[in-house]
Symmetry: C2
Subunit: 304 residues, 2 copies
């Protein structure tokens, strides 16, 4: 029998990426069985079910949708790439609204593709060394700002918030040219807080010497759209993307960061999104039980 | 026959870690043969030769010593660990002075060892979750500040500069709790610029959205003690520490960063320190030739 709603896990959210083997229905059932109050949805699970059916399943579950993952990938340097990204993000905005969440997480994309990096040394013309868009992170960031401006009106119409996720700098080249919470807030600054927000994901930001100040700033601006918890474990996995661990298994000080977030007055969900082969190979109910146990041990006592 | 001194490579410095198989004498000979103006020395190569002999070899080579690597590892939470670190850093200060360089690079150390991280989930008491020094990065940084203050008088007596190296945040847990140039400059601020400086190492700082501003600040304060160049390549090596590439093989925009450094008026050496198994397996003279070719192509045109 499921724990009563409003119990200690009422603010805990299961991101469907954490229990990758589960369908949407299985994830909703598993989260409810575990007593969690919410789920974070990846678009692949939603698309498998079909958007309208997914929305009905979510509604029937009684769970909140803490966020939809993900839009983004806005750094294309060519018109076709930009147009494709805008179309995909508009679709994601509609999906978020249909699923009943305001929070659409954006992973903004890394440096655009190039023929140069990756393989053995490939000479390229010294005469134009600064004209290579594949290395120009400053220009890539400027394009992110432009694409956000393009999307804001559509997001506002649908009452959806574009939620900028700073990713750990280990992903700056290939996944996100937003690397710090302060940078995300600077990009959000021209827009209303109800239309552009930020994620505070411990895995990505724990190392930042400016973190306490930027969390306070994000809270004061009303832009904290999601607080996500997973741990930094070493050694890194061969695929750095799959290197996260359960809360408590690594090096992150959840007590301190959680208190900083709570001090802003944040009352939203706390989402757990872990990419990790070993966790994916574990039965979902066991993973949910571990999330709950770690949350109660390391996060809940510091939420105030 | 060696190129004439004062040629195009006069400011290029070979760090001995790049040609790991070479002894000190071999590295000095190889750098001179290649026409380079300087070497950066690791302490292991110096200790193999013996300090006094190393100093004589360096003097006979006619090369400058752009830096000595490295001191640091200052984050121990216990008195014995702190005392050990201070003694080791004082020895490194003497070595730098003896070798004729003012610049002693410090890698400040990561979180102190713990019984908790690393292995499978080990429960620890929820009652004191914020008393675990192995996760308290804020306290670890404060200890770094304290140890720098301890070392400054000794460094000043020996006319050696303690050079703080921000490391890429991928190393924040295990190697350096200084992750940004701005943070390094904040730590240096209480001390004279001739006694505490910073490294600008492209590999570690290229991703930083605040980089242009912090390089300008470092230059204005007179604290740029070393400009180091190597490239960020993907995928990461299994050991992230060995993941660097030759300039031009990866994602870093050397044109832009070099212009930022040059704009400060920096006239010091440009050092190449690459940890990479494939490069270590390459004959040293070939590696030096590659350094020179990449430097001439990607760095030198932007030094102004």
């Amino acid at each position: 029998m499921a724990p009563a709603p409003g119990g200690p896990l009422a603010r805990l959210s299961l991101n469907t990426a954490t229990t990758k083997a589960w369908t949407l229905q299985e994830a909703l059932d598993g989260a409810a069985r575990g007593g969690l109050g919410a789920v974070g949805l990846w678009r692949d699970r939603v698309q498998e079910a079909g958007l309208d059916k997914a929305a009905r399943l979510v509604e029937a579950s009684g769970l909140r949708v803490s966020s939809l993952c993900r839009g983004g990938f806005l750094t294309a340097a060519d018109d076709a790439g930009s147009a494709h990204a805008l179309a995909d993000n508009r679709a994601a905005i509609v999906e978020a609204a249909t699923l009943g969440t305001r929070e659409l997480v954006l992973v903004v994309g890394g440096l655009p593709a190039s023929s140069a990096p990756g393989g053995p040394a490939l000479p390229y013309p010294a005469a134009t060394p600064d004209a290579d868009p594949a290395r120009d992170v400053v220009a890539a960031r400027a394009r992110v700002a432009d694409r956000i401006a393009d999307l804001v009106p559509y997001a506002a119409e649908h009452d959806v918030r574009l939620v900028l996720e700073p990713l750990h700098p280990v992903f700056a080249a290939d996944r996100a040219v937003i690397s710090t919470l302060g940078q995300a807030l600077d990009l959000a600054a021209p827009f209303p807080a109800q239309t552009v927000g930020v994620v505070v994901d411990t895995y990505h930001v724990w190392w930042d010497p400016d973190l306490e100040r930027q969390i306070a700033r994000a809270g004061a601006e009303g832009r904290i759209a999601s607080y996500q918890v997973s741990d930094w474990t070493l050694p890194l996995a061969a695929d750095a993307l799959l290197s996260r661990g359960h809360v408590g298994d690594g090096h992150i000080d959840f007590a301190t960061i959680t208190r900083w977030v709570a001090a802003t007055g944040y009352t939203g969900d706390i989402e757990v999104e872990i990419f990790h082969q070993g966790i994916w190979d574990t039965p979902g109910d066991q993973t949910v039980a571990t999330l709950a146990e770690r949350y109660i041990r390391h996060v809940l006592p510091h939420l105030g």
